[in-house]
Amino acid sequence: MFVICGPKLSICGFIISIWGIIMMGLLGVFFLIKSPLLLEDIPATKADFEERAKVDAIFQQSAYNCWVVAGVYVFVGLFSYFQMRMNSRQQYVVT
């Protein structure tokens, strides 16, 4: 397989992916338990706030979104880790 990203980019990608997985995972959990501190961060208009059920649904949707993002970053993380290995192997062979 080839090296698509250089060594620095793959390490950056790996670190950001780990961070993203943890942070988005936790954010998803917090959206699910409907934390009031995240009230400003949900895509709800003033009209939506009339119905309780609607707001709950939006919270849940945001939670799922966050987990999807975490899932995407799992793949990005794996890819970056793979690239890191490729890079270090290439360095080893060349010298």
């Binding site: 501190l37 009230l39 400003e40 979104n65 993002v69």
Partner: protein, 833 residues
């Protein structure tokens, strides 16, 4: 065991080394790294010193080694660093080393010149080969034309040639030269030929496809084969001169095809032979370099050690009897045993019978400051030393800085999420210490971060703690214990009607009395509009409290200094008034801050008097009418007492100390101050004898060498210090408010980053939100690291540092010492790397 609280006790020692043993002893001392030699021949020129020849020889050796290293690097051979640390070889081995290096250098030079000559030869043969091949086509063309044409027309300037001549009857004696020239020079060459020979010469050229290697520089150059036809000798010489001018190499090219074929075969054979020889030369050179590369690190270390030893030996004095060398050095008292052992080892190694002697001397000079640090404390010691090296045996702020510095940083940084990232970064660097130490030594910025890895780790850890207190995780609060505030009993119509609801803590249903949030800030504040107003008051008071605490602690450390240096006058006349002044004013302010926090609860908070106004009125002796505006009973009398006490401290600070000094001077009891430098008495002290007499008291100033006593100068000095202290109290206390300011800035930046960056991703409805968030998150991460971690981190670091250097250390720290720089091979090798 060294203590970090004060610098090590140092002594000036005299070493008597026998000339034969001197080298070995200095080598052992260099390995030990515990003595700092003084230069006993400061007026002597570098070229007049005793061991200048040896130093010169060492320089030569180093030059040869550098030449070898360059050759090794050019050949791309890796230099293996086994981490071996060889001892400095004895002087007789130096001659062997010199011989080895000389031999290697000569061999390399010879091989290089040979290789160059061979390559030049090779180049010539290759060019000749190309010429023979290319001109073949020219000649064939010409043959063709020649056969087609009438010989009578041969006078015209067609490509005519002597083929198998004499056919045309009247042979046109056309001469030709063949050669090779750089491709870039060809057009100019043609033009020059045309002009100089007035068009009477004819040039054919063709390019050589493969680039040829230039023997001197090793570059690949493209060349072209050319052949010039002319008639007559004049033209010939002209052409030859032009070729010389353009540095085109001419080759003798035979005229008949048969001869050319023969020559080509001959050239091919010679090229093959030469190639073999070249390969063998290259192999030989490679072998020589590889064998040198194995040892070159060790040789470098040895050469540098020898040079260092001879430099040090140059600092010594030769005894009258010419038999022994005398050295003077500073060394820590606690390590005298180890130094004695090292000297004994050195004497044994050199095979000398006479042991080396170490004498302790008393002196009036200020010894160098030596703090024994390990890899953890050395970073903090470096921070303190950047401001000023501690005076000899004064209190070292470093052990306190280990905790207070990360703590003050954390107060200004205050976000647990960012603190976590910083702590993880520090943890990674500490965990991978050994590997990271060997890589990447060249990068300056990385070296700074790596050197401060323990500081970064501590700063991150403390920031996590203050993040929990401020309840700030990437600008969001965590509700871990359950908020003490509740909206449960607010009616629905109120919620419908009003945009903002005010929660009154007096109402039991809203706020549970006597059960505040257990640790840190209640998470409800994150959603409150008046969060900043509330936090401002809290953080400002906290900053002032921390400031007054740190400053009082600094003043108490100065008492420790006065007691160590046996300066009772200062203890009474400087320490006590200073402490009283600070505590009466700002200590009282801290006390009423705490009092107000405790005594007033939500029900009566509306009538709590303002602390600032209280303090101002305290100094203006203005007292309010109504009983409500008093914090406590008896406040009036107590405040008047405090102000008078503080004011009374000022003349104490101004006059008591000069008065005592003047009295001491009058009664003839004065500390002996002899002109220090030349008269260090060499006292032979027993090893088991107790401590040296305490270092000379540094407190009483104004005594000049001539024992003049100027009361005026003393008074002025004291006045300056008093004013500095008193005004400094106020300004430094206010300066601590930067703790509040920076933490506010950090919190706001963090909030802005969340609401302007991450919020965009979370604000999209439906599954689109996931896509956008995936793209937005890396931007959020990068900006967090760049702005909040790096920029804010550096800013908080700088301000915490300033608070330590100016506000804390000005209370007790002189910082006028000089650093102990021992003669150590380890330090030397690190410098070279």
């Amino acid at each position: 065991m060294g203590s970090l609280f004060r610098s090590e006790e140092m002594t000036l020692a005299q070493l008597f080394l026998q000339s034969e043993a001197a080298y070995a002893c200095v080598s052992e001392l260099g390995e030990l790294g515990l003595v700092q030699f003084r230069d006993l021949n400061p007026d002597v020129n570098a070229f007049q010193r005793k061991f200048v020849n040896e130093v010169r020889r060492c320089d030569e050796m180093e030059r040869k080694l550098r030449f070898l290293e360059k050759e090794i690097r050019k050949a791309g051979i890796p230099i293996v660093d086994t981490g071996e640390n060889p001892d400095a070889p004895p002087p007789r081995e130096m001659i062997d080393l010199e011989a080895t290096f000389e031999k290697l250098e000569n061999e390399m030079k010879e091989v290089n010149t040979n290789q160059e000559a061979l390559k030049r030869n090779f180049l010539e043969l290759t060019e000749l080969k190309h010429i023979l091949r290319k001109t073949q086509s020219f000649f064939e063309e010409a043959e063709f034309h020649h056969q087609m044409q009438d010989p009578a027309l041969a006078e015209e300037s067609h490509a005519l040639l002597l083929g198998d001549e004499e056919r045309g009857g009247q042979p046109m004696r056309l001469g030709f030269v063949a050669g090779v020239i750089n491709r870039e020079r060809l057009p100019t060459f043609e033009r020059m030929l045309w002009r100089a020979c007035r068009g009477n010469v004819f040039l054919r050229q063709t390019e050589i496809e493969t680039p040829l290697e230039d023997p001197v520089t090793g570059d690949q150059v493209h060349k072209c084969v050319f052949i010039i036809f002319f008639q007559g000798d004049q033209l010939k010489s002209r052409v030859k001169k032009i070729c010389e001018g353009f540095r085109a190499t001419l080759y003798p090219c035979p005229e008949t095809p048969a001869e050319r074929r023969e020559m080509a075969i001959g050239v091919m054979t010679r090229i093959e032979d030469l190639q073999t020889v070249l390969n063998q030369t290259q192999d030989h050179r490679h072998r020589v370099l590889v064998s040198a590369a194995k040892n070159i690190r060790v040789w470098f270390i040895k050469a540098r050690k020898i040079k260092a030893i001879y430099h040090t030996l140059n600092l010594f004095n030769l005894d009258v009897t010419q038999k022994c060398l005398i050295a003077e050095c500073w060394c820590p008292v606690a390590d005298l045993e180890r130094i004695q052992l090292a000297l004994r080892r050195g004497t044994e190694h050199s095979g000398s019978s006479v042991p080396s002697i170490l004498n302790r001397m008393t002196t009036k000079q200020a010894p160098p400051t030596y703090h024994k640090t390990n890899k953890f404390t050395s970073a903090f010691q470096a921070i303190v030393d950047s401001y000023g090296v501690a005076s000899y045996c004064e209190v070292n702020p470093a052990p306190f800085t280990i905790i207070t510095f990360p703590f003050l940083f954390a107060v200004m940084f205050g976000d647990a999420g960012h603190g976590l990232i910083m702590a993880l970064f520090g943890l990674w660097m500490v965990w991978r210490e050994k590997q990271l130490m060997n890589q990447r030594k060249d990068d300056g910025t990385w070296a700074i971060f790596f050197g401060g890895r323990y500081i970064i780790l501590l700063m991150g850890a403390f920031s996590i703690y203050t993040g929990f207190i401020y309840n700030d995780f990437f600008s969001k609060s965590l509700n871990i214990f359950g908020s003490s505030w509740s909206m449960a009993n607010i009616s629905d119509e109120d919620i419908e009607k009003y945009d903002m609801i005010e929660l009154d803590p007096n109402v039991t249903s809203i706020y549970k009395p006597r059960s505040p949030y257990p640790f840190g800030l209640d998470p409800i504040w994150n959603m409150a509009e008046n969060k900043i107003t509330f936090l401002n008051s809290f953080k400002m008071k906290m900053s002032v409290i921390l400031g007054v605490l740190q400053m009082s602690f600094g003043i108490c450390l100065s008492l420790s200094n006065y007691r160590f240096f046996k300066d009772p006058v200062s203890s009474v006349s400087v320490f006590i008034p200073q402490l009283l002044f600070l505590l009466c004013i700002f200590g009282y302010m801290v006390a009423i801050i705490f009092y107000k926090w405790i005594a007033y609860d939500a029900s009566i908070s509306y009538k709590a008097p303002s602390l600032l106004i209280t303090m101002i009125n305290m100094f203006l002796f203005k007292f309010p009418e109504s009983q409500d505006d008093y914090l406590y009973s008896g406040q009036k009398g107590f405040q008047i007492f405090l102000v008078l006490l503080a004011v009374a401290c000022v003349p104490c600070m101004l006059f008591i100390k000069p008065y005592f000094a003047w009295r001491a001077h009058k009664s003839g009891k004065r500390t002996v101050r002899v002109n220090g430098a030349a008269e260090d008495t060499a006292v032979i002290m027993d090893q088991d004898e107790g401590e040296m007499p305490p270092p000379p008291p540094e407190g009483v100033s104004g005594h000049k060498e001539e024992e003049e006593f100027d009361i005026g100068e003393l008074l002025i000095y004291q006045a300056i210090h008093t004013i500095e202290f008193c005004l400094g109290c106020i300004s430094h206390t206010a300066s601590y408010l930067r703790l509040w300011a920076l933490s506010l800035a950090h919190a706001q930046l963090s909030e802005v980053l969340w609401s302007m960056v991450l919020h965009i991703g979370l604000g999209f409805q439906g599954w689109v939100g996931a896509v956008v968030t995936t793209l937005v998150f890396p931007a959020f991460a990068v900006l967090t690291i760049a702005i909040l971690l790096v920029m804010e981190g550096l800013s908080a670091f700088l301000h915490a540092l300033r608070l330590h250097w100016v506000e804390f250390q000005s209370k007790f720290y002189k910082g006028e010492g000089h650093q102990f720089v021992p003669f150590s091979f380890e330090a030397l090798m690190e410098d070279h790397n």
